[in-house]
Amino acid sequence: MPMALIELHNLQKTYRVYQKKEGLRASIKGLFKRTHKDVHAVKGIDLQVEQGEFVAFLGPNGAGKTTTLKLLSGVIHPTSGTASVMGYTPWHRENDYRRRFALVMGQKNQLWWDLPAQESFRLHQQIYGIEPQQFQNTLDELTNLLDLRELLGQPVRELSLGERMKMELTAALLHSPEVLFLDEPTIGLDVVAQHNIQQFLKYYQEKRKITILLTSHYMKDVAALCKRVVIIADGRIQYDGSLSGIIDETTNRKLVTLQFADPLTDQLMNSLKRFGTVVRHEAPRVTLGVTRDDVPAMLTAILDAHDIDDLIVEEPPLEEVIAEVFTRVSESSAVQATEDGNC
């Protein structure tokens, strides 16, 4: 069987951290005797990604998403396990590999702070050995798409966060990477800037057919861009599949919103509670969480008994469903920890 473009097998990363206790006395003790704790950031990840996929990593803070991207970029070494990206082992840091991928981090910037971005771009041209004509073409294309042309000559420190992020993206794409790792590229951006970056990524990925792994806390990014979603929590993969699949797999509720022509009496409200839980109540509208299979029967009953002006049946918001998954994982890992403790 041919290998996938990105393959991870039982990848693990454990950090040893110094346990600092509160207070001066404990700090002084710490000078002589240090206690350490092992933090298992990634506890064994298996994953295959094919060429041209756009995959989102979702997970709570500290779940291991960024650590996984750093392992794939070869920035850090794993504790155990294997990874292969385009046939390379990332942490061997071969120049051939490093020419073919890019990592963009929303929280860190690589452009020279005091210089116009174009100076940093020129540096990239030298480092990646990009031919002048090709460099100019790529730069023109990217600055047009991201609407950056006017800003190239402005020192990076004078750019807005959104503009800076676009510049970071440009810098990362100048050498036309085949694989792109994006670690929260829209963090802290306003809705318009987020949208712009989403549109750009969507267009660029479809046109170039590159492979992208993205981590983000914004469901909108994920919904707009990725067909495949990998939920990482507690250092492990909890779900791998389509976005809509998360809802099918993890919740059997639907949200039913009803707008009544009749006044919403207490009696009516009580009768509604038979069908499900009231999620929102803004007269004349009521939203109920109803078990999927019960929806048809419920609708028939209500439509028979009341005048309804409007009716919406929808999936629960993705954020909520995913939050549910996260909570479940953290609860089960807490239980696991207690059990381990008892052994």
Partner: protein, 285 residues
């Protein structure tokens, strides 16, 4: 795929150019830095001129008279300014990159990581000291070659060896810095770099003869063989300031050892650097 391999030289030129653009955009800061550097060197000369009011030479019969010592001083400045222009800001920055986790970007680039962290910043203002060093060197050599009694005759071998040993000295200093900065990976924070630089240059900026009495011998052995910073200035300065014919066999042996020490320092610093990268943890996200 791109057509050609990167040229390290061109990358370096771009680093240097970007640093210059950056320095120029803070013009006043740049000028103030130059002025303060030059003032420091001028005060330095003033101080030694006072010292030479009381004595004819540094140490009895060591041969380091006023003008010879000024060649020595000029050599110190030249090496210091090379280190401060090209390596000091980068070693400092490297330490900071490790602490902040921004070393990530250097690790992603398809060029040697040690190169990528050793050269990105050039402190052009520190180069003013190089100019002062060259002027002082020229002046003292003129004095030495034109003095009525026993004038120095410039030997072409000395003229060739001098820049060679300047480079060796700079490389030794660079290696020591890289080793120190690399330890930040294990220590989490290492801000002793500037202090260390100050201590070390304090030892290295005098002729080594002065250490060879009593307990100073221990210092001499330590800073010659273990942390060979005494060789950095002493070898090129000795070769230039006084006739090669008067160089004793021990000095020649040390000159040979200096080449070995340069290569050894470079090798060890490379090994430690590579080890450090393996242990790099990439702080935060």
């Amino acid at each position: 795929m791109t057509g050609y391999k990167p040229s390290y030289f061109n990358v370096f030129l771009t680093f240097a150019r970007n640093s210059l653009v950056r320095d120029m955009s803070f013009r006043t800061n740049f000028i103030l830095q130059c002025i303060s550097t030059i003032s420091w060197t001028v005060m330095n000369i003033g101080f030694y001129l006072i010292v030479f009011q009381y004595t004819d030479s540094i140490g009895k019969e060591t041969g380091w008279g006023r003008d010879e010592f000024f060649v020595f001083l000029a050599t110190t400045w030249i090496i210091n300014s090379l280190v401060q222009t090209f390596f000091m800001p980068n070693a400092q920055q490297f330490s900071e990159l490790i602490r902040s986790g921004n070393l990530d970007f250097a690790l992603l680039k398809p060029i040697d990581t040690q190169f990528a962290i050793s050269f990105p910043r050039v402190d052009w203002a520190a180069l003013s000291n190089l100019l002062m060093g060259i002027i002082l060197l020229g002046y003292s050599l003129f004095q030495l070659t034109t003095k009525p009694e026993n004038p120095l005759i410039l030997d072409w071998r000395a003229i060739l060896m001098y820049p060679f040993y300047i480079v060796c000295g700079t490389v030794i200093m660079y290696s020591v810095m890289i080793i120190l900065a690399s330890t930040s990976v294990w220590l989490g924070r290492n801000q002793t770099l500037y202090n260390f630089w100050f201590y070390i240059t304090n030892f290295s900026r005098y002729p080594m003869e002065i250490y060879k009495v009593g307990w100073g011998m221990a210092l001499w052995v330590f800073f010659t063989f273990l942390v060979p910073v005494l060789l950095v200035v002493n070898i090129p300065a000795r070769i230039m300031a006084r006739p090669l014919s008067t160089m004793n066999s021990q000095m020649w042996q040390l000159a040979g050892f200096a080449i070995f020490a340069t290569l050894a320092c470079l090798f060890i610093s490379r090994r430690i650097f590579v080890r450090a990268l393996k242990s790099y943890r990439s702080a935060s996200s």
